[in-house]
């Protein structure tokens, strides 16, 4: 059995959180609140470090252009003063504009052009045929200029089935992931804490 206080705290936190499956209880609530508090405190510390290392220190060393993002960052807090709350819209607009611009620029190449290119494959195997037909049929499901009736309706229905297969794979992956997480905790409890397994 471990003699490390950290391992004991982690073990009690794990048991406390898992105990929710049996019934909501005070230990679960204590651990849950601790988790939220510690996460917030950790994020605050890391954020403080980021501002210190990436903005304040270099600025004090003569990189005065960093004053612009620092001032813009401070302006975000004007939302807490009713009279000047509108000022916060300036840095917020910049944040949204830059973020969206960056994402869209990359998205068109990576998730549209290159994904379409990946569909240009020889139809010489079941996998390839299923992939190309599946993509076309699912795209047809979202084509609303033709009423989904008769054969168009049947094709759209097949598109829905293909999507269902995709959702099923995602769900199975999620279930697998949850099991893996639980196994990880069991390995921690039985190994690191109790020392029953290696």
């Amino acid at each position: 059995m471990s003699t490390d206080i950290g391992v004991w705290i982690a073990a009690f936190a794990t048991i406390g959180l898992v105990s929710f499956l049996f019934k909501e209880n005070p230990l679960y609530r204590v651990i849950e609140n601790m988790y939220v508090g510690i996460s917030a405190g950790y994020a605050l510390t890391v954020g403080y470090d980021n501002i210190k290392n990436l903005a304040v220190k270099p600025m004090l060393q003569g990189k005065y252009s960093l004053l612009i993002p620092i001032v813009l960052g401070i302006l975000l807090y004007t939302r807490y003063v009713k009279r000047y709350a509108w000022v916060a819209k300036i840095p917020l607009g910049l944040l949204m504009g830059i973020g969206t611009g960056l994402a869209i620029r990359g998205l068109i190449l990576s998730q549209v052009v290159n994904q379409i290119k990946a569909c240009f494959i020889p139809l010489n195997s079941f996998d390839n045929i299923f992939m190309v037909l599946g993509t076309l049929i699912v795209l047809f499901y979202f084509f609303f200029s033709i009423e989904h009736k008769g054969s168009a309706g049947n094709l759209a229905k097949v598109g829905r089935w293909v999507m269902m297969i995709g959702f099923g794979a995602s769900f199975a992956g999620t279930a697998t992931g949850r099991i893996s997480l639980f196994i990880g905790r069991l390995q921690f409890l039985l190994g690191n804490w109790l020392g029953i397994i290696k």
Binding site: S39, V46, G106, A169, G177, F182, I183, L190
Partner: protein, 277 residues
């Protein structure tokens, strides 16, 4: 009987799952295991990289998902250490640097010298915007590493100014920001090969990137981790957990089948009473 099954307390199911997974952990069954092709692809790629070449690992992993990704990350880091690659750790998730440090210490990379063979640079806020900035100026975005040491003359970063200077970027991902964002900002525009150690829940989402070769390799969840541990020849918690996972899956499948049989057998009887799912 069927009626009773449909009314089973969910805690009974949790107990069945718990027992079924504890047994193989205590007494491994040694069920056969195959290495996924995408995991083999990452292993082969790392194997082909010459010693002394820098690679980057972005720990974009939350604490909640770490248990699933730890075995795969440790196996990949061990492989990189044995190959003598320079490992540059970055993160755009605040919990990332601590989890990466934990993984480094648990792998053979932890026996190498910090600042010379590897560095954990830490976290930069900003998500996808931060990725774009890191890609263009690593030392500018990381004037100091996770431990507060200056990066300006750090040997491990010699000749590494942008992410174009690394041979491979491995994203350890539990969600957003993660693989699609790295592909958008680094993989496609800068032509940097990207691989991922990813939770099983995201495998279906990321499979199209393997098909399009925007991802060059993948270690999916515990199964991928077990496969990678086998390839590296250092069996760890991935391999130990795979028996428990397989048994867990069989139990879940059995419960789904039994539950559905019981549901359809009693379906008619519930009519008019609002039914029971």
């Amino acid at each position: 009987m069927m009626e009773r099954i449909t009314k089973t307390d969910s805690r009974v199911i949790y107990a069945i799952l718990l027992v079924s997974m504890i047994i193989p952990l205590l007494k491994p069954l040694g069920l056969p295991l195959t290495t996924p092709a995408e995991t083999q692809a990452l292993y082969d790629l790392i194997e082909s990289i010459p010693s002394g070449t820098p690679i980057a690992i972005s720990m974009d992993c939350s604490a909640a998902g770490y248990d699933e990704l730890a075995p795969g990350t440790i196996a990949v880091l061990t492989h990189a250490a044995r190959k003598g690659l320079k490992v540059i750790g970055i993160s755009v998730i605040d919990a990332g640097p601590s989890l990466l440090q934990k993984s480094i210490e648990a792998s053979e990379l932890g026996q190498k010298e910090q600042g010379i063979d590897y560095v954990n640079l830490g976290f930069v806020a900003g998500g996808e915007t931060a990725m774009a900035s890191i890609a263009r100026d690593i030392k500018g975005m990381y004037p100091v590493d996770f431990t507060g040491k200056s990066t300006s003359n750090m040997p491990v970063l010699n000749g590494v100014n942008t992410l174009q200077d690394v041979e491979l970027l491995i994203c350890v991902a539990t969600g957003t920001p993660g693989v699609p964002e790295w592909i958008r900002q680094v993989g496609d525009p800068l032509k940097v090969p990207i691989a991922t150690v990813v939770i099983a829940g995201l495998v279906a989402d990321y499979a199209p990137y393997m098909q399009s070769k925007q991802l060059v390799g993948m270690v999916p969840g515990l199964r991928g981790a077990a496969g990678y541990e086998g390839l590296v020849g250092k069996l760890g918690r991935g391999t130990a957990g795979i028996d428990a996972q397989s048994v867990g899956h069989v139990v879940i499948l059995a419960l789904v089948v039994v539950g559905n049989i019981a549901y359809f057998a009693t379906k008619g009887r519930g009519k008019g009473k609002g039914g029971k799912a």
